[in-house]
Symmetry: C2
Amino acid sequence: MVKFKKTSLIGVGLIGASFALSLREEKICSTITGSGRTEKNLIAAREKGIIDTYSLNHAEACKDADLIVLATPVGSFNDIISEIRDSIRNGSIVIDVGSTKRDFIKNIETQIPKDVFFVSTHPIAGSDRSGIAAARPDLFKDALCIITPTDKTNEEALTKVKELWKQIGARVMSMTPEEHDRVFSSVSHVPHIAASAIVKTIADINKSYIDFAGSGFRDTTRIAMSSPELWVDICKSNKQNMIDHIGILINNLESIKTMLKENDYEALRSFLNTAKELRRIIE
Amino acid sequence: MVKFKKTSLIGVGLIGASFALSLREEKICSTITGSGRTEKNLIAAREKGIIDTYSLNHAEACKDADLIVLATPVGSFNDIISEIRDSIRNGSIVIDVGSTKRDFIKNIETQIPKDVFFVSTHPIAGSDRSGIAAARPDLFKDALCIITPTDKTNEEALTKVKELWKQIGARVMSMTPEEHDRVFSSVSHVPHIAASAIVKTIADINKSYIDFAGSGFRDTTRIAMSSPELWVDICKSNKQNMIDHIGILINNLESIKTMLKENDYEALRSFLNTAKELRRIIE
């Protein structure tokens, strides 16, 4: 069973706070220090028993930690690593829980001290809600957690991090950072901005029409209520895959438009059926 | 309280069967005859107590009915009206529960005998599931039901149909057939085909990526599992609005692509925020 003495949680939001609660529940680590920009949030997290102590200074929070968790938006990782690198003690493990990988992993691997072990992870869990109010210790139970090792990843640390995620209930799987970003552009990042585009389209047509939305529309656009800041960050760090995949989505919508214009309803039926069959696989 | 002696239910699927169950629950009508193409389904509906008798012939099923409900896909309405028009007795009310309006209402109003009263209705209820297995008597409880009268609609019949929907729990609202079709193109029909296009995009990239879909993707694409036949029908009869609105959606996706290419993340944040604020209205 994997154990840590002190965890430093950098970024105390939904994912970070749920991770902290999971660590406690599984008795993997009892001492957890949080750091972040907003003192009010850190005080609330301490009151809820998510963290024991906090600091507004990331480097300060990392001192003596043997596990450091980057749980801020991915766009901040490079700056945070610069801030904390001289405060991380030798032998510590650093993980992140970011939704994109390729862009920052290379930089972190260059920046991080030789005797500190970085392993990048992405738990596929979340909610349209954000913040510590939505945090729960079972958020990662039965969730998939992707680990994206590179040729620079330390084998022992990799094994330990895999064990850690398994202990808090996740199913662990490995892939390269590049494949990770292609996969999640297609099943998460592009669907996300598409949901926002569907809502924005109603704003363009007539805002008041939103009142006629049924349960299907609510489901389809629920993720459009997530934090714009968080998603801008994700888009930024997975930009090229998203540009490519939005292009494919636009082509598909253009095809449907053409089918309608040309009254090619057999092609439309076949299109809808292809989508139906693929979607049913995950039902 | 509105009462009918015999209801003829043309098309015994999710909506039709739920409507029949609602009529029974509210004791609005005790005798219900179903008609449709598939005898197996009609037998099953009779066994479940949804209908009392059935016919494979729509005209036969309409005899002596004082309420006739068109609950087949909208594309079949014109043919059905031709089939049944000579069998409808004077004074009967004919309603439909179709998701589009403009295209067929004009035709029905021309076709239907002078002493038969047609009122077009659209209950905003449904499910990604279809068929009588998913039917339930409370499907329309608190659901919105849009009534789309024209200058040909009989006032007395209109009042009676409104009362009928209210009695089974729906909130009733009126608008013109033209506005109805614009509204539902934007909040239902285009979001629906967009959900299918999002799934189809993964088929184009790499089918196996579907395994990495999280709960957000599942929500966003749930409606892509609905019946392709039903949706082709809807697209067909609301074609022009959908072509226009898909065009606006494509423009929005092109805008996002451009923002990414030009690193205009402030514009992207503002786009996502506009969508978030509008979506939150219906949460």
